[in-house]
Point group: D3
Chain length 247, copies 6
């Protein structure tokens, strides 16, 4: 019988905290921490407005070779590895799939995604497609995918090959158990060993940004308000005091 | 005068029945029937939520060659072949265009599409673009296209060349009179000679799928409910009986 | 200190008049005036329903070279040229960016775009991406872009290099001060020296088009109504008279 | 039995004369005659040093559809249309193939190409690949192809579909019987109706070019010698006289 | 210390026999045996005229992530996995590399390739580049690569990640120990379990092909000689008898 | 009259010294000096065996716009900017062209290249094509180009726009006067301000490399000889002494 490893999950507190910083802050800070580019490029948000963070379950597809994966594979569902990655699903998990950018293979369909949503999954990041998209997009899941297709997962070019191994998704190397942060700007991989440091850096809140944004929206001078110039410091402090008073 | 052939249309009953199965079932069953890949890849749904089936009228574009298609062509609208494919339009027809993937040519604009909608056309599948998209998308038509452009159809790279001939659209070979099934997952070509068999196969309804989906959405075990295991058979039958009672 | 040139703006009346003709008419007429292809291809409308016209401020990115643009660049915001193009922003302006089609660089983020909106900017046309898109799309701006990314503007492959110089954006040559017309079909560059002639040509209103469109939507014969045939002339005149009466 | 049409061939004299002008002159002059771009782009010279001209036999491939072209097709070689285009081959002919840019299909192999060479064929222009390339390149044929592959012609994505019909090869529209001029710079399609005019234009020999090239190779001033300036006219005439004397 | 597994090598006799059949026969026969497409597409022959067969040592690259592979990696050469795949090299081996199609990374340079040649390696198949190509091409090795670059292997986008694991190279799935057949037409993967059957099929020599090729090269009728028609059978037998006599 | 600036050339000694280090050493050392990727990617060596270094004259093409560059442009050759970059040519110079990757435009033809060779030019690096390639490749010039075409430079998509301005060629930013090092591995841009440091680093000759290469070619252990291990130090010194003796 097929056995696939589970992942080690970080503390719920860490994941939830990372869920508040957004992909843009994550990508920028990780870059300043020395990792040039952590965006999982290719998959784009198909569930606009969702912002998630969660540990990565990984699924690797390979080019199809009929001597390895034949029609008979379907006789025993347990041999289908795209099911196995879902067997590990826990609430908040993110399934990340190296589908080789293939536009002719629907990695998951309605039944698999319904199951994943039922398990409390947070979302999927697929360098490829899903199928049954009309139904899938009604589920309570986030989708970062290349597109959709009517084709099933092994219909043409690729086959599921390994679960919870390091994968390449888009241009990014993702280890099982790394944390994914994803929102409308895209999906970013946070190496698990960097997660605490990222959180710490992202928490150094620039308090004056809200004030600056207000002023900019009013047509004020970019040079004066972003970054906040010494000249605008007093004005900011007055505003902040008023804000506190108002609350 | 230019004369172009009409197509032979299948029975209305057949087309309507095929309209209920969806592109994913069509693509999957046709694959199991021996046709590897019937998705018309490239064009994607721009009219989300629509699901259509209809016979294909076809239009073939070719690379522009100014000795064949000059400015004077415009003096006589009857010479413009993209009009001719629409002359054949009947209620429920689908216009399928090999526009060579060109992103700089608007195959149809508002006037042509208004006419097609007025004739009861079901939709267009274009390996290329339309123009006047803001107005076009208000019409009662389905759109599976690569994108939109302000350019007119022969402005840059391509010219309409033949009507109701076999064409390549995306990666698919489409004969005039084949049936197109299209929805949010994409567009699929059903060879007319395979239409009856496809319908029959698609009609073998898997009755337990609705039950399984319910259980999966409740977080139940994928192995137990999809496919339905012997272990869950009794539970399913009880549920089905209750369902019937409820109606 | 960095100094960048401003642009010469056309009369407000001219720009506003051009704002009514739409990108499709602009592209088609400019083609008939001898400029084969004026679409800025690549960037697509991400702010559906908006239709703008405005003079182009231009920003050119170049491939990143660390000896030219290093980490220290950030110490002095005034050295960041993507800020400088915004310093010139006036109400109705359009910022056009040659971002080299790069999908890994967010040319502008929320703060920059908030400032641009605060100055009354009409929109941005970027052969590349923005970041902070969820917030950006709430601003009163039009977006013609390739996509979105969490990455910041100089994070990976490109650096801002020049402001208000001639640039290539998509396949189009744009001079600072040219007029951009953009809507759901895409963005078109109007050479400033051709703007008056374009406007004149576009104003030759084909009065019968509204009538023809109505008839086409009712399923009437394309040959009879588009273009309007002599046979339909009387019917059209009757309709027009009735229309005037109704008003 | 399959029957495919032959082509009408131009006079041998015309073809031979065109064989002397080269693809660069052909493309340039045809452009000045109003046909913007006649290069068959994609196929490149794999038989360096050859320069040919000849009438086009055409072969069109289409996306593979197993209901149209099955394994049984091989039982009767006469059904294989890539053979039929060769049945028409006469000395000096050029076979032009729309192979859809496919890199996974070897349109012709050693046996077919040996036959074509045996019939006196001049060369092949294929928007795709051949196989058995080591042997094929030893034949007395010109090759303008995208590449080579071990795969046979219908192994993966495409099937031969029609012979001596108008085709798109690369970005060019080619009619059966058009003349192909091909050399190291690439392949150009000469519309048969333009062939005489092209020849006439190309024959207006610029006699001074040889002289200018000599001077440029000696490091002389480009402005003075190309195009030949009035200042250099006398020098040229002296040179020409000396040349004639020398012969 | 880093340890990587070796491969199980097939009998020398098997490999040598496969070395005589060529990639075209291998690809075609494997297709008829049910494996649709075994070409490793992307890498092309840079060592024209070589024809090899040998067991695959595999090397997998992954997208670069600076937290995994930093500058310090170079302090200990033993951590560099592209060296380790070569440690396993035996005479006749073929190194197959998934370099992710990257054109900015030179997977091996002169020193590594000199070592591999020194060990008797047969060749490399790389979905990417080598560097030091002028020197490398002088070595007694076969090269199937995408191109060349001055960049070193981890300079930009990728890092070596695993040795002798299943990899995707081009569009093909390659297991360590599979047999590679490569020549001017390209490289083909022979699944080790299919090698004997392939050899047997390829050995069913079609004796008349040589005769047919001769006749075709003389301008004879394709229909009569390929495949050999009953009509030509007598002629063939006469020719064969004469051939034997001649020897 | 059109005037374009010349470049400032480095000392001949510097250029010649850089000409000996090769593109691979240059790219690698510049990377270690902090410039990630200096390869001009896209153009590849078409003049195998040549190795050059020289200061860059630059030429920028822009997308064609017929209101800027019309047919009449040809009436006055002096308006053609691709001529002007050559007017500056001195012995050893390298012309670097941003031709926007266009495959349908022959940036230079035989006459221009003959002139450049006549002036002692070292080579051209073009992110695009040349024409008249059969004649061009006979000249004493190095070619790093994408390909060849029969089309002339402004025939289709692009026009020459500026001379000796900073350009993007492939993925690299090149300033006029930077030094280009190019050989069979490709072309690398050396920022002029980094040239001295690069030379110094490249000159730190690793004396044992020649010895190691010899041993590796004899099948010796990679771990022992590359890098040279302490274990092999004595053997190396013996070899070196013998070498000196031999000379």
């Amino acid at each position: 019988m097929t056995h696939t490893p589970d992942i080690k999950r970080p503390s719920r507190a860490l994941v939830e905290a990372l869920g508040t910083i957004g992909s843009a802050t994550a990508a920028g800070e990780l870059n300043l921490m020395g990792i040039r580019d952590t965006q999982i490029r290719g998959p784009v948000a198909h569930s606009k407005g969702r912002s998630i963070a969660g540990p990565a379950l990984t699924l690797q597809f390979m080019p199809k070779r009929e001597d390895i994966y034949g029609a008979s594979e379907y006789d025993d569902p347990e041999k289908q590895l795209h099911r196995h990655v879902l067997y590990h699903a826990q609430a908040g998990d993110v399934v990340v799939v190296d589908a080789r950018g293939d536009m002719a293979s629907g990695v998951f369909g309605e039944m698999m995604l319904t199951y994943f949503a039922g398990r409390g999954g947070a979302g999927v990041v697929i360098d490829g497609c899903i199928r049954d998209s009309a139904e899938a997009f009604k589920l309570d899941l986030g989708y970062w995918i290349r597109g959709v297709t009517p084709n099933y997962h092994t219909q043409t070019n690729i086959i599921p090959f390994a679960v919870n191994v390091p994968i390449a998704c888009g241009n990014a190397l993702v280890f099982p158990g790394d944390i994914i942060i994803a929102d409308d700007d895209g999906a970013v991989v946070v190496p698990i060993a960097k997660a605490e440091e990222l959180l710490e850096r992202a928490s150094q809140h620039v308090e004056w940004e809200e004030f600056s944004k207000l002023r900019l929206s009013q047509g004020a001078d970019l040079r004066k308000y972003y970054p906040l110039s010494p000249e605008a410091q007093g004005e900011y402090e007055t505003w902040r005091a008023a804000q506190k008073h108002r609350r």
